[in-house]
């Protein structure tokens, strides 16, 4: 007896009791759609976190100076300059897992255009910084190496600053003054959005690091009075790069083994990982609840199949009398259970995707349907059908034809 015949037979039997078949499938439908929708929403949240971390720059390390300590009051990281310009050079040239590194000096300053002013963070840096942050120019051009070498008075504005000072007009080519020094706006950066903590990346302006030192905030010549942004050659190498930079700096700063570092390195991949872990736990929790409901659906199928076997005892007897072997009967009921669960699974996928999309839209949640979860859910529902259909089907196949024929 070929599988197609068995399948048609099963479909016929199920269509004979449409309402009952539907209600039986409902358990699986709810289970599968819950799995799909929950995981889609969980994955959407994860993707959003990922995106906001990607905005900070992938494989990013931030190296900060050590803390100052005066009379018991400890100043926090960065308060005591320990990093030197030579350290930066060493990081750039000596560590193989580092792609590039850039110094960033910051100061809060007021930017004055012809008719507006805006106080923001002015940062002195080098062209590498934009590369590390994967931050490109929307209008005009960025800082160049010759700007840094020559200490030219050029400035690149973030989107927020540009719109505060120049409205919707073109900022490129305009002049702004910082502490009475005129700067020419050479470019406006692309919008980068917010950091995971809600800080607006676009509220900032960038000048060449040399210009920053000479015109905005003079500093110690030897020490780098700011932070160093480092990008590893790849996201996977971030941890290795962190270790290498740590070793290099400890070596350069002559820190004996066992003593504390006089600098600190923030690994954003670690922060992102912790965030991801949180959403993953949530997704796992939701998915396991949904899988439990799939199991409950399976029990529903078993229940109905048992009822069906009892109801159709006579039919089973007739089939056996005219030559159905036990395995034919087994296959018939197993395929019925499988059809119920698989059909329920497929309907569940449709409803899960549809319902997830609806939830995502009405609550403004991100959503991401994962094809692998969809196929796992469908396969799992089929397994549920086979698993819970096996007992009733076996029971049917073991019926004694004589008694089955006599059954009232």
């Amino acid at each position: 007896m070929n599988p197609l015949v068995t399948f048609r037979l099963a479909l016929r039997a199920l269509l004979r009791n449409k309402m009952r078949s539907f209600l039986t499938m409902l358990g699986i439908i709810i289970g599968v759609s819950a799995v799909i929708a929950m995981v889609a929403i969980g994955e959407g949240a994860k993707a959003q976190v990922e995106k906001s971390f990607a905005a900070m720059g992938t494989s990013l390390l931030i190296v900060m100076s050590g803390s100052s300590s005066a009379g018991g009051a400890r100043g926090g990281f960065g308060s005591q300059p320990t990093l030197t310009w030579d350290d930066l050079k060493a990081i750039q040239t000596e560590v193989t897992s580092v792609k590039s590194a850039a110094a960033v000096l910051r100061s809060s300053a007021s930017l004055v255009s012809e008719d507006q002013n805006w106080t923001t963070t002015v940062q002195g840096t080098t062209p590498e910084y934009f590369e590390i942050r994967t931050w490109s120019i929307a209008n005009g051009s960025g800082l160049t190496q010759s700007d840094v070498e020559g200490g030219t008075k050029v400035i690149v504005l973030g989107q927020t600053v540009a719109s505060r000072l120049f409205g919707s007009g073109d900022a490129v080519g305009q002049a702004v003054r910082i502490k009475n020094t005129p700067f020419q706006v050479v470019g406006v950066l692309q919008a980068k959005g917010q950091s995971p903590t809600g800080q607006d990346y676009d509220d900032g302006a960038f000048v060449p690091v040399t210009t920053f030192q000479s015109k905005i905030q003079g500093g110690l010549q030897k020490f780098l009075n700011g932070t160093i942004f480092v990008s590893a050659v790849s996201a996977a190498d971030t941890t290795r790069a962190q270790a290498a930079v740590t070793n290099l700096l400890r070596d350069r700063h002559r820190i004996p083994p066992g003593a504390d570092d006089d600098f600190s390195i923030r690994n954003l991949a670690e922060v992102a990982g912790a965030q991801q872990e949180g959403t993953k736990t949530m997704t796992t929790l939701l998915a396991s609840i949904a899988f439990v409901s799939l199991l409950v659906g399976g029990i529903g199928i078993m229940n109905i199949m048992l009822v069906s076997v009892t109801e159709r005892t006579r039919e089973i007897g007739v089939r056996m009398a005219v030559g159905a072997k036990p395995h034919h009967i087994l296959a018939q009921f197993l395929v019925e259970a499988l059809t119920l669960s698989l059909l329920g699974g497929l309907l569940g996928v449709a409803i899960g995707i549809g319902g997830g999309a609806w939830l995502a839209r009405s609550f403004n949640w991100p959503m991401l349907v994962r094809p692998d979860i969809v196929s796992v859910a469908v396969v799992f529902s089929a397994l549920v059908g086979v698993g819970f259909g096996l007992y009733p089907a076996r029971k049917a196949s073991l019926l004694d034809p004589i008694e089955a024929l006599r059954y009232e």
């Binding site: 007896m1 005219v322 030559g323 036990p326």
Partner: protein, 246 residues
């Protein structure tokens, strides 16, 4: 005669059921031969063991001891699957309560044995149609059992028994649920099948039904009490009935 190949050969067949711990012997050693083409009625009061004998003859059950040769093959020790195959190929069943699948068309009911014989869809429909034409139901292929009269339902059942061209048709009280005129019609059909060479064994407790058979075996208390051949009465359908069932 003895070296001729019998269709059925029972050699001291016994059957014992176990009701809990109590063994109940129903057949006490039945031996009989039925040749191809015979029409046999097995009679007996209830409790005589005729249903048990019928189940064994139909390969629905196995003897506790003794041997049963069907078409030259010992089927008394076959497993469930092999017995199902023997039933499928060699035997056609007709039951008292028809045992048709409800909400299933006559044609599909008749196709049922062919499904398990692995016959393809088109050939199945063709053969089922032929069988239904043979029992005079060519016009009722799509009818469900609930849309058919008792006599018509039994004809569908006979068509189902015929469709796989079995050597043996086993009928268990085939007229038990029918009125006397329809009973005669059904018996006429059985006689027609007998004339075409099919072996028909029917179990009945009605002696007037047994008169249509060429050989009557009477069972009593699990043993063959008598085994007689007779000139069968012809089942002739009264003309009035023909008009009514046409």
């Amino acid at each position: 005669m003895s070296n001729r190949h019998a269709l059925l050969e029972l050699d001291t067949v016994t059957k014992t059921y176990h009701l809990g711990d109590v063994p109940v012997q129903v057949l006490h050693g039945v031996s009989l031969r039925i040749e191809p083409g015979e029409s046999v009625a097995i009679m007996g009061a209830s409790g005589s063991g005729k249903s048990t004998l019928m189940n064994i003859l139909g390969c629905l059950d196995r003897p506790s001891s003794g041997h049963y040769l069907l078409d030259g093959r010992d089927v008394s020790r076959l497993n469930r699957g092999d017995l199902a195959e023997v039933r499928n190929r060699t035997i056609g069943f007709v039951f008292q309560n028809f045992n048709l699948l409800s909400r299933t068309s006559a044609l599909e009911n008749v196709e049922l044995p062919l499904i398990y014989a692995g016959v393809g869809t088109r050939e199945r429909a063709r053969r089922a149609k032929t069988a239904l034409e043979r029992v005079g139901l060519a016009e009722r292929l799509d009818h469900h059992p609930s849309q058919l009269s008792g006599g018509q339902q039994q004809r569908v059942a006979i068509a189902r028994a015929l469709v796989s061209s079995p050597k043996l048709i086993l009928a268990d009280e085939p007229t038990g649920n029918l009125d006397s005129r329809t009973s005669v019609e059904i018996m006429a059909l059985f006689q027609e099948l007998g004339d075409s060479g099919i072996t028909v064994v029917l179990v009945t407790h009605e002696s007037d039904i047994a008169t249509y058979a060429r050989r009557v075996i009477v069972l009593k208390d699990g043993l063959v009490q008598s085994d007689q051949r007779q000139e069968p009465a012809r089942a002739v359908v009264p003309p009035a009935a023909e008009v009514k069932t046409a």
